[in-house]
Amino acid sequence: MTLDDYLGIGETITLGSHHFSAEAIKDFARKYDPQPFHTDEDAAKNSVFGSLCASGWHTTAVWMKLNLAHRGRPWNGEGPKPEFGPSPGFKNLKWLKPVFAGETVTFTRRGLDHRPLASRPGWRMLTIHSEAFDSTGDKVLEFDSAVLVKVG
């Protein structure tokens, strides 16, 4: 097994699906994004979105949850198992369509590439592209992000 295999370079991996209940949408929004279209069905009907929908940050947080759950691919290459570290950030994030209450969203990730980090010997920077689709097949989210990986 090569590092590229382990990191899924060039491979689109389906991370799993998540059901966004109205209650979970409102719970998240009350703490972090209490705009009326995320906390109140009636207010949402009269808003630009037309119906209760998840905070965009709720959608990305669920991506992280499923992404983590999918990191445990068995390592049978040489040396110790690569170890994921923190991330420096993301870019080109688009919330393309609201995630409405009751939707089930399917998340994917594709490894783009990885390179050594001059400032941290033994660590590499992995870049990935992620997407999410609702039950009608419409893309609701996409973004590019990076994460540090300790190798060898």
């Binding site: 703490k31 972090y32 994004d33 209490p34 705009q35 279209f37 630009v48 979105f49 905070s55 965009g56 940050w57 990305t60 947080a61 669920v62 992280m64 949850k65 983590l68 994921f84 570290g85 923190p86 991330s87 420096p88 950030g89 993301f90 870019k91 080109n92 994030l93 688009k94 919330w95 393309l96 941290r120 973004f143 540090l148």
Partner: protein, 153 residues
């Protein structure tokens, strides 16, 4: 909260808005991470100290969410906001550690009216969160949509 309602006209290039402060509590870090980002350095002080983050640190997605709450309280809940289509970039520049006090600031980079939708404007801004040592921990650039005062009437 002031009685002003932020509209497109209030958000011209160069406008700076204070987003207030947020104390980052350990139990909030652990609660968010338990649900969405259950990595050891977001769940446990000792594991955090042993990691390159240097202590119990907030998930980057939690930092985004804390920033969003500050933005809601300072601007969006009393505004003509029509949401945001995305984020140009966000940088987690330094660890956000339990006990940190974050101060937020928003600077409008540019604004323009929609050509296709009268009464709608696009406002691009840079947001920054700085910790109690004056170190920038988070930076974000994106565009939000706001109605003009006239359109919101």
């Amino acid at each position: 909260m002031s009685s002003r309602k932020w509209a497109y006209e209030d958000l011209g290039e160069g406008v700076v808005i204070d987003l207030g402060t947020k104390v980052v509590r350990a139990d909030e870090i652990i609660e968010f991470a338990s649900e969405f980002d259950a990595q050891p350095f977001h769940l446990d002080e000792e594991a955090g100290k042993a990691s390159i983050l240097g202590g119990l640190s907030a998930s980057g997605w939690h930092t985004c969410s804390m920033f969003m709450r500050m933005l809601c309280d300072a601007v969006l809940l009393d505004s003509t906001s029509q949401g945001a289509p995305g984020i140009d970039h966000a940088k987690w520049k330094r660890p956000v550690l339990a006990g940190d006090t974050l101060s937020g600031k928003l600077t409008v980079l540019s604004s323009r009216l929609s050509r296709s939708k009268p009464g709608l404007g696009f406002v691009s801004w840079r947001a920054e969160l700085v910790n109690q040592k004056g170190e920038m921990v988070f930076e974000l650039v994106n565009t939000c949509m706001f109605l003009t005062r006239e359109a919101a009437r």
